[in-house]
């Protein structure tokens, strides 16, 4: 068997902030423009694709994040076996891409998920992120794509002071290191 490797495999705790890499998580990029695409997603995933900018919808298994008017980001709540991930990817691909409704792309390993928890979470982000979190902070389910220390990220507000942050795999070790360095000073 091939071994599974992630760039970080770690959890760090500081006063009032905890940072952990959580993998493997299923992640699929969905793109489409018409109403049928949205309907199909709802049917296949039992989840309504959010059409309002910077929002998301979730059920007990999955989260669907708005990325742009024709792009969504699907990720699983829990760690997932690669077989289940492949199954869902194939199913969505045949129901959406094959029937010319849009695109379905597995990006599970394109992104690394990092969970940030604790009252100092937003203070940590403000060390390198120009985004205004004042409203985001209090909006459960809010989504933003922005940059932290010049690195692209997707941030999903899961709960009060509990964020899932997605960073491209090749950048993840650097961002991880930077976040830990920053956490010393918050």
């Amino acid at each position: 068997m091939l071994n599974f490797n992630t760039p970080i495999i770690d959890t760090k705790e500081y006063s009032e902030i905890k940072i952990s890499e959580i993998e493997p998580i299923l992640k699929i990029n969905l793109r489409g423009k018409n109403r049928d695409f949205i309907t199909k997603i709802g049917k296949e995933l039992s989840i309504i694709a959010p059409v309002d900018p910077n929002t998301s919808s979730s059920n007990e298994k999955l989260n669907l994040l708005w990325l742009s008017p024709d792009e969504w980001f699907l990720y699983s709540n829990d760690k997932i076996d690669i077989k289940d991930a492949n199954f869902l990817e194939d199913k969505l691909f045949s129901e959406i891409s094959k029937v010319k409704l849009g695109s379905v792309t597995n990006v599970s390993d394109h992104w690394i998920m990092i969970n940030l928890k604790g009252t100092k979470t937003f203070e940590l982000l403000s060390a390198g992120c120009p985004f205004n979190f004042n409203n985001f902070k209090n909006t459960k389910g809010a989504v933003t794509q922005t940059i932290i220390n010049h690195i692209d990220v997707i941030i999903h507000n899961k709960n009060v002071n509990n964020l899932n942050l997605f960073v491209r795999r090749s950048f993840s070790a650097h961002l991880w290191s930077w976040m830990n360095d920053s956490a010393r000073f918050v």
């Binding site: 910077n54 742009s68 008017p69 985004f131 205004n132 933003t144 922005t146 940059i147």
Partner: protein, 91 residues
């Protein structure tokens, strides 16, 4: 550092965006039928005005959508942002 109101995502810091030059220059549908001069007009000639200029911007580190902006180059004031394909809301 501007604060740009992305027509899709809302107000964001300029560092999330990249600028893409003058707006409303349409790529000719039949380039092969153009003379060198006509093609050069499309390819090279750009306005560089002091005052309100129409520009293309991309929310590169956000929704990745291109949009248009009317910006006064003399004081950097952004008068309007509008989606691709839309007409400028001001003159």
């Amino acid at each position: 550092m501007f604060l740009i109101n992305c027509p899709y995502c809302g107000e964001r810091d300029q560092s999330e965006f990249s600028a893409g030059g003058e707006a409303h220059i349409v790529r000719p549908k039949q380039p092969t039928e153009l003379s060198d001069n006509q093609w050069a007009e499309f390819l090279f000639m750009r306005k560089n005005i002091k005052g309100v200029q129409f520009e293309r911007w991309n929310h590169a580190h956000g929704c990745r959508k291109w949009f248009n902006m009317a910006r006064d180059t003399s004081n950097d004031k952004i008068h309007a942002v509008y989606k691709m394909g839309e007409k400028p809301p001001i003159k």
